[in-house]
Symmetry: C2
Subunit: 435 residues, 2 copies
Amino acid sequence: MRRLGIAELGSAIGERVEVRGWVNAVRDQKRMQFVILRDETGMAQGVLEKGDEPSALNDAVSALTPESTVRVVGEVVEDERVKLGGLEVRLAELEVYSAADPELPVTPESSMDKRIDWRQVDLRRPDRRLIFEVQTTVEAAMREHWREQGFIEIHTPKLMGSASESGAELFRVDYFDRTAYLAQSPQFYKQMAMAGGFDKVFEIGPVFRANPSFTSRHDTEFTSVDVEISWIDSHEDVMAFEERWLRHTFQSVAQRHGPAIEETFGVELVVPELPFPRVTLADARELLRGHGHEGPQDGDDLDPASERALSAIVREHHRHEFVFVTDYPTTVRPFYHMRHPDDPSLTRSFDLLWRGIEITTGAQREHRCAQLRTQALSKGVEIESIDYYLDFFRYGAPPHGGFGFGLTRLLMQMTGQDTVREVTFLYRGPNRLTP
Amino acid sequence: MRRLGIAELGSAIGERVEVRGWVNAVRDQKRMQFVILRDETGMAQGVLEKGDEPSALNDAVSALTPESTVRVVGEVVEDERVKLGGLEVRLAELEVYSAADPELPVTPESSMDKRIDWRQVDLRRPDRRLIFEVQTTVEAAMREHWREQGFIEIHTPKLMGSASESGAELFRVDYFDRTAYLAQSPQFYKQMAMAGGFDKVFEIGPVFRANPSFTSRHDTEFTSVDVEISWIDSHEDVMAFEERWLRHTFQSVAQRHGPAIEETFGVELVVPELPFPRVTLADARELLRGHGHEGPQDGDDLDPASERALSAIVREHHRHEFVFVTDYPTTVRPFYHMRHPDDPSLTRSFDLLWRGIEITTGAQREHRCAQLRTQALSKGVEIESIDYYLDFFRYGAPPHGGFGFGLTRLLMQMTGQDTVREVTFLYRGPNRLTP
């Protein structure tokens, strides 16, 4: 007897098969019993006649609670009247693996908070599951491109002896008789890989931010995608890599999930054309003003409203959903971003916006030890705390650059969700450490 | 003018090309200067004549320090006498990206500790780099197999509100006004994914153990590979998955790096035959005694010496490097391992040994909430601390099982290294939080 996924039942008309799955619903009528079964591939109707004397099997069906897990055996019968695939399974055997408590604690309409409390039930909905299928495809496509280009995968330590960038928003860990810190980004260590001759690296892993805010974009732990590339001429090489890499990723997602995303979330996935539009921050400011947005002041970063406005302008004028904003002033960039030789108030840096939200921050890094030290001093960084980092560049380092990419922000936009909590397997925030 | 990797120079005889890389060594003779250049693809010799009046370029070469990074331009000339590829580059231009301090702090012969202090220099050696190329291939092959089988990738939280398994070896984090704990494994959360209807999942990510030991196998942070599968009949299904998955992985590594691994580390990579041998722990104990090893007592786990001895016996008798040891007693297994229905003192569990070292622990899990609670009580687990975990199984859960796999242990054996520190990008131990 074959064990089949529900989506395969159409190939087994007239056959006795086994199905394992969830009880989606039970209708216990006077003469007939119906069990809607659900597995990872779809839903199907199980059916059983009931005589004047209910059989043991009838009683077992009557006792079923929704969301219990079961193994059923039965003959697959074609029936055009049945909405679920035009077939039904005539139940012959039923085994209950795990009986669900009768009252479910949560529904799709429950608050986000309550749904996270019962994430194990919430995730069973096919639309929630689709989000993580898309995530799986996104990461696989990214890795495919990295692999073709000869990148090395690294796993950098999340436990650090001192702060990775600034001392703010840092989690402290009791580490034997001292204090460790949780990495806010793999930034310094991916640069160590460059100094270590690894040439091109990537990492997908958790980062930690002791950020007390509760916005739809923030969490205290999230999955960061990091890339670093050696022997570049400028940040332009990094952007040229990123746009090809994203195009490949979008192609892969569109091919595998495009119709499902559109049907489930009402969001069209547009594979972006190359090259992506680029605009300097100074020009972006002018562009925003020309369109009646106040925009950021000189020396300031784009705020979320400006990001949305800029994306809308670019979409209208360039028919493109992406835009690289480049050449940020040193005031809003960390000390290790390389400065323009002809204008040291500007950095060789960029952000990437997609549909009004920043999904990437990147730059060429300063690889010359003395210059790096000078820049750190000019930004008021305590040299002692970054001595080990400066050491990375004392014995030769290639010119290099890279970017950090927010996986959850991408997924949020890709599946039309309104908060990163929906696209995070299990959200962590200032008040949220459970389940 | 083409920019080429050193391995490509043979295709450019007579051509003026650009090369970017490291100064491996300089020989500054009376009439000739030689610069050995190194990049990610290999090494080549640069050459420059010196007249009575040294040129600016001669002076620049004289000033080069080993491990500096440079860009050179020159004509590629065939010369059979040159050991490095039978060619040399006649230097015409030289740009120094980053000049290395003259005295290197570390050599390949330095102590492991010192080499970790200067990991950015240590990693430049091609044999160190090969370890991480192998790691990249290992993970890519694992993912390839998961993807073919329809697995979903998850990223479980590393910040937890309470202990993941036992309270021992747990790192504490200051989390706003309370305490969080670093995940020792994604165990509970990958089971949540099963309860959440994800069917088959994997995760590759960091785990944290506040283990004060300094052995060659231990660290406080390492990369764990985790798998969990639903709708299984027993732990046998999990083992059947793992052996196919490992065979695929070994095939991929052998194909891509087999000769390099043998040449560099003197280790032969043997692609394992299916199925892997299986032996119950009770039988393993008899086998060990029959071969003159004392072995573990009843109810005890295998110690490292017994693991080595058992692997040697299996290798001799089955000509196989792997062995599944199954059916561990409940005394040495956690409460959530499913027990044998016909002998509740034994669990449906297994370890996998490879070349004398345990690389996997797996089991079918108990998915029935009431039974799980009973088992927790019988093992003296404080129910309050696992209430949230028991909740995972209250509203239906499929029968499931899986395993945790030590990536660093696999790599250590695969590349013939004597400690996990060699195969970890940046080791973390009780006294080691830097760089």
